[in-house]
């Protein structure tokens, strides 16, 4: 198995930065690192398992109803994720609120299932979902990290910026915790990423 093929989504084929998939539902949870990471893990799990299941079933699914079948499987996985989060990560599940449910409409999931899982064997499909989820999670984590650091001077609820900075007039930037800043950060990330690799513009 050629592992390199699957690593694309982490950088040069990143689902958010290059394929413009799945920007939708998840940015709202990046105000802090913790919910961003939990969201990233949830999406990765759903993407990998969804791809795996659809790939296993791919020869039995009648093409005419394949979208509905995909929706049912993904929705079931998402509900399961939501229930598990509520049982073991109650605080975070409250922070994520409706955005867990919105994983369903995350274009990455349906996009990868349509483009990859329907035509490939289970194991490669699983890894395809996994790495696309991870590539997506990477962006979430970076945005979450920067926003929490700038907005509250801490990361993962641990103080990072020393008090001496504040003594010299450093201030937390509350603006960064507001939603529009997440978009601007993504824009900057895209800029950085595209300066490095030579991809066609979309």
């Amino acid at each position: 198995m050629n592992i390199k093929k699957y690593l694309g989504p982490l950088s040069k084929d990143n689902p958010i930065l290059v394929q413009v998939l799945g920007v939708c539902s998840a940015l709202a949870v990046t105000a802090q690192l913790k919910p961003a990471i939990v969201m990233a893990i949830s999406v990765t799990a759903v993407a990998a398992l969804g791809n795996l299941i659809i790939s296993l079933l791919r020869n039995t699914i009648p093409p005419r109803i394949r979208i509905i079948v995909q929706l049912i499987i993904v929705a079931a996985l998402v509900i399961l994720t939501d229930q598990i989060l509520q049982a073991w990560f109650y605080d975070i599940s409250k922070m994520l609120s409706v955005f867990v449910g919105l994983i369903i409409t995350n274009c990455i999931l349906m996009g990868r299932i349509e483009a990859f899982a329907l035509g490939n064997k289970p194991i490669p499909s699983f890894f395809d979902g996994l790495f696309n989820g991870l590539g997506y999670g990477l962006v979430l984590a970076v945005v979450g990290f920067v926003r929490e650091l700038l907005a509250s001077g801490s990361v993962w609820n641990h103080k990072i910026i020393p008090d001496s900075f504040y003594a010299h007039g450093y201030m937390n930037n509350g603006l960064v915790s507001l939603p529009p800043m997440a978009l601007i950060l993504i824009g900057l990330l895209v800029w950085i990423q595209r300066s490095g690799s030579k991809t066609e513009k979309i």
């Binding site: 998939l21 939708c24 929705a75 998402v78 919105l102 939603p179 800029w191 595209r194």
Partner: protein
């Protein structure tokens, strides 16, 4: 109720505050005319699906929702199914609308029809239903006000963005920033602008 309507247009704007519907927002905003079409379609579907989902949630799924049927069913809590039901309802209604419009208003279908299939997977639609559930609106009229407000807010955002994007073609932007990069940043700046409405 008017409060909910106005707030969901300007302050809790689907795009600027919750990033919902970003995929089609970025993809279809190349010119003002098509984005207006998509915006109208989204508003239309929202206004139909949110109240329907509201009724389903309150009379079928919620804990105690079935008590109108018989007292013994009152304790049943099926809210864990709501997600799957909502998305099925959205998909079904979009499909239905497409058929109805095609039959009875072909002119409208020609301008709106191409957008309808896109909408079934638009996060804004499902998002509105989920927010409706979370916010516990007291009656269906509130849900309707919320749905129409969100739809109009979305329409406003995509049309304004498309207008900016048409101008953008003539401006000099660093190459790596073109396309997605500058779009995100502009949307962010527009969002900051919309925050001015917070004082209302």
């Amino acid at each position: 109720m008017i409060e909910i309507f106005v707030r969901s247009i300007f302050i809790d704007n689907m795009i600027f505050a919750y990033f919902l519907g970003m995929c089609s927002y970025l993809a279809v905003s190349k010119n003002v005319k098509t984005s207006f079409g998509l915006g109208v379609a989204v508003t239309f579907v929202l206004v139909v699906t949110v109240p329907v989902n509201y009724l389903i949630d309150n009379y079928l799924l919620k804990k105690g929702a079935l008590s109108w049927l018989s007292a013994s069913l009152g304790g049943l809590d099926m809210s864990f199914l709501s997600l799957i039901v909502f998305i099925a309802v959205v998909a079904a209604i979009v499909q239905l609308l497409e058929m109805v419009i095609e039959k009875y208003a072909p002119a409208l279908y020609n301008s709106l029809g191409i957008f309808l299939p896109l909408i079934a997977v638009n996060c804004a639609i499902l998002g509105a239903s989920l927010f409706m559930q979370e916010r516990n609106f007291p009656n269906v009229a509130h849900a309707l006000a919320y749905a129409s407000g969100s739809g109009i807010g979305w329409l406003l955002a995509i049309v304004a963005f498309a207008a900016i994007r048409e101008r953008l073609r003539y401006s000099q932007i660093p190459k790596p920033l073109q396309g997605l990069g500058i779009s995100c940043i502009i949307t962010g700046l527009m969002g900051l602008g919309f925050m001015a409405f917070l004082g209302m």
